[in-house]
């Protein structure tokens, strides 16, 4: 297929929206799940779309797959550039997620700003040093020159987009907006703060009973240290010698680079079940159902979707009031020991175990908060309104 074909195909489809993304889940290729759930929600609302993933090399021939009724074309940034005149001509809303510096330049110079909305999910407009926890001192020593250059490139690309009032910008939290503006060095104009949608049909609320305080789940990626699983696992090790600890039933499930090393200390505990593996959304919902307390330590989250999904299920979360977390939960629905502190985290686990009467009220509060803040009306419907305004 050629870029000319792509343009013709697009004219023939005349979709309601275009998604531009550097990555999109297809087959075994992961990344961009947040984008896919959005596209599916827009389509379910009656809109038609076309997704362009542009991470292919310049000389690769574009090809198109389908995810349900939605075409997904895998092409290169050059391919998008060639398509830009058609996009401009059709006036179709362009929804760009996590634009690369080159794509940011293209959006700004080749498309009509009033038709463009840019979603920033976090890393694209964040100084990498905010997540120094993800680097060991020796690893960062060799990586800084490249990372510093990446900072410069990303911020230089984002700055004119931030400052362009014609282009709509979407952040998932006020916290994310704040640090992004600080790091990029520009105040963003024409901004919407819309959290990621939490699927409350899949993660159905079930009020937890007091006795479920002893059924504890740690379900998290172990890919990077900002997920902070080490804090929860150290907390379990701290609690292990306490009388009554053996009454807890704990499941640790996850996958990623740090999994094997991090779980070493709890493998010997008889009441801790360790499972390595990825969990699909349905499997996650099932694990939620079987447990009462969700351990969700964090060093940095721009929203905390995993926490939100557990809260939607009615689980009582133990998390840390750091980064964007305080925007999405509070002490009426989660226990909030201070961040990066296994001792404090251990005390929070022990508190809910020894005060199980808190479970029902916190469970109800958690589910209600997610429905209100991250349910369909607060997220997808607002995004559809943006798409319609871009088309007008």
């Amino acid at each position: 297929m050629t870029s000319g074909n792509l343009a013709a195909e697009l004219r023939a489809e005349s979709p309601d929206f275009i998604v531009l993304a550097p990555g999109y889940p297809r087959g075994t290729s992961t990344g961009g799940e947040f984008i896919r759930t959005r596209v599916q929600a827009y389509v379910a609302a009656g809109l038609s779309g076309h997704v362009y993933e542009y991470r292919a090399p310049s000389d690769a021939a574009p090809f198109t797959l389908h995810d349900g009724s939605t075409p997904i074309t895998v092409t290169s940034a050059d391919g998008i550039e060639a398509l830009a005149p058609t996009l401009r001509e059709l006036g179709v809303p362009v929804l760009a997620h996590s634009p690369t510096p080159r794509m940011a330049e293209l959006l700004r110079t080749e498309l009509c700003g009033s038709r463009v909305a840019v979603w920033y999910h976090g890393y694209e407009v964040r100084d990498y040093r905010r997540l120094m926890c993800n680097f060991s001192p020796t690893k960062i020593a060799g990586s800084r020159p490249g990372l510093d250059q990446m900072n410069r490139d990303r911020f230089a690309a984002a700055r004119p987009i931030f400052e362009d009032p014609a282009i709509t910008k979407v952040f998932v939290s006020q916290f994310q907006r704040g640090y992004s503006e600080f790091d990029v060095g520009a105040t963003a104009e024409n901004v919407h703060v819309i959290p990621n949608h939490i699927d409350t049909d899949l993660y159905r609320a079930r009020e937890r009973a007091p006795e479920e305080a002893r059924r504890i789940l740690l379900l998290r990626s172990f890919a990077t240290r900002n997920y902070a699983n080490d804090i929860a696992l150290r907390a379990l090790e701290i609690l292990a010698p306490r009388r009554g600890f053996d009454q807890l039933e704990i499941t640790v499930r996850g996958f990623g680079l740090h999994f094997q090393r991090e779980v070493t200390g709890v493998r010997a505990l008889r009441n801790v079940r360790v499972q390595e593996g990825y969990s699909s959304p349905v499997e996650m919902a099932m694990l939620h159902y079987d447990h009462g307390v969700f351990l969700c330590p964090t060093r940095f989250d721009t929203q905390g979707v995993m926490l939100g999904e557990a809260m939607a299920s009615g689980m009582v979360g133990i998390t840390n009031p750091v980064a964007a977390i305080p925007e999405f939960t509070d002490e009426t629905c989660s226990l909030l020991p201070r961040g990066d502190d296994p001792l404090a985290f251990a005390e929070a686990i022990w508190h809910i175990f020894t005060h199980p009467e808190l479970m029902p009220v916190m469970s109800r509060n958690a589910a209600a908060r997610v429905e209100e803040q991250c349910g369909r009306a607060a997220t997808v419907d607002r995004e559809i309104t943006i798409i319609r305004s871009l088309a007008a």
């Binding site: 926890c133 201070r338 502190d341 404090a344 005390e347 929070a348």
Partner: protein, 571 residues
Amino acid sequence: MSLHTPVVFTDDPEIQAMARSRHWRYVERHPDNPQVLRLPGVDTLCSMPQAAMSITDDSLGEASLPVWTYVLNWLARFVHKPMPVVEANSYATELALWASRTRDWPMGALVAGRIPANTQQAVALFTAADGFFIPDENLSAKFTAAWPALVRLLPDQPLVPNEPIPPVPATRRTPGTTRVLLVGYYGGPSPTVGSQRINYWFEQLETLSNGRVTADVALATPWPEAPARVHQVRDLGPANLVGSTGGLAYFARGVMDEAASQSYPASRQVAGTWHWRLIDYFRNREDEYDVVIITGNPFPPFEFAHFATRHWYARTILDYRDPFAMSPRVAFTPESRAGATYIEAGWNMSADVVTVVNDACVALAVPGEQDPNVVVIPNGFDERVTAPARPQQRAAGPVRFGHAGQLFPITPPDPLLEAISHTAAEFHHMGTPLRTEIPANVTNYGRLPRSEVLETLGGMDCGVAYMAESGIETPTKVFDYLAAGLDLLLLHRGNIEGTALAAMLDGVAGAHFVKDTVEDISAWLATYEPMTHTDPARAERFSRRASTMKLIDLILELGDHEFDAPDLLGG
């Protein structure tokens, strides 16, 4: 204890003769080929792979490493337990640092000719050396006065004893106690103002907190017969990047590449790689710290905070004292200032709290966040050394001005001396003597111990301090003047609004801000009447105790592991 043979690396015949007179050995470069070394009395010559060892310039590459290893083997073969004594910034400086890193050899610092530039290698050599060899007595006195750490001369004897630093037991968690690790490059017997701050904290945190806070301290500078809980971690300069096998550590290439890419390469500055030694030292220990306070300058050890957070889950305080990247006193190029600003922002992004000494410095801390957490922990007078009680009535006689500390060329005392020369007023100077012609009404005391400074100040009416145009300083002498109950004469060149001293002394009785010109001082003198300040409350808030109590509150807050449970069900 072990005995070592000093081996002086010098081509200077006079220094060689002095070494010989002590029955020491020396190494000289062959006059025909400076890459060949010879030990008098030894037929076997030794070749160096390069004209000088430069660890960051590929001296430890595949081709050179075996040859440099041979140099040390050659020394060890012909000298009993060698102790290299080398000059700073010389061809052998890094060789001695490398020998210390890889073979644990003691080393000495040779200072000859003139005081060397404070390069990373020079400062590392001077702080890590087991002793100094300074043949010229005048230079020895000059160097000792200028060097901000202890100067111990090597004994004039053939074999020099080397006392290993005793190991420090691990600091483990105890309920109800917040364990603090203080990290500073200079400390202990070092006479610097910065040392006073960290020393006071180390000595007083536990007492002033009633045992709720304990403190360890890690220093680069030597502290003979140190008290318990002092971790002496030597800075070996570029040799900090060396692994246990003698070659570059696996991370060293990354550090060097990074330095090459930066407009302000922090790792090439003084103490630029010391944090790697700190990491190496603490990595395999079983300490458990709640709060780690790193105090500058030098500032590059702030990199250690990253390790402290990862390794101990510790909260970190970066104590800048004075500004780093935005310092008006440092002559950065625009590019290097931008580079330093970027680095400081990164440090501050990760720190829990940044501390500085006054309000003016708050504005010059590079923010890492929208709402940076910058706290003022002032310096102050050490109340443990008490000033003599102030008499209720001032003794009759002329006005006596006192000045303690150094006088800098940019703020000469000439206008003040000229103004008082037409009066009966006296000027008493405690510090490096004035070099100008001394008028009759000026008394030079020279450098005095602090207790004598306070005693002498007790006989004065008014303490004199100069304000730099930047206005960011709160000189420690001012705290001593306050402790002694003096009026203050604060001589300024620029505006006083917004300066640190103006903010600090707002509402303090007897503080006189006067423009540093003969006319302004004379006009002020014409109406000045000394006041006697006998109320201790005037000075109390300027004591180190007062500022340390503020630090203790901060430490207790940061070190609090309690979980505050929600009260959802009404108690």
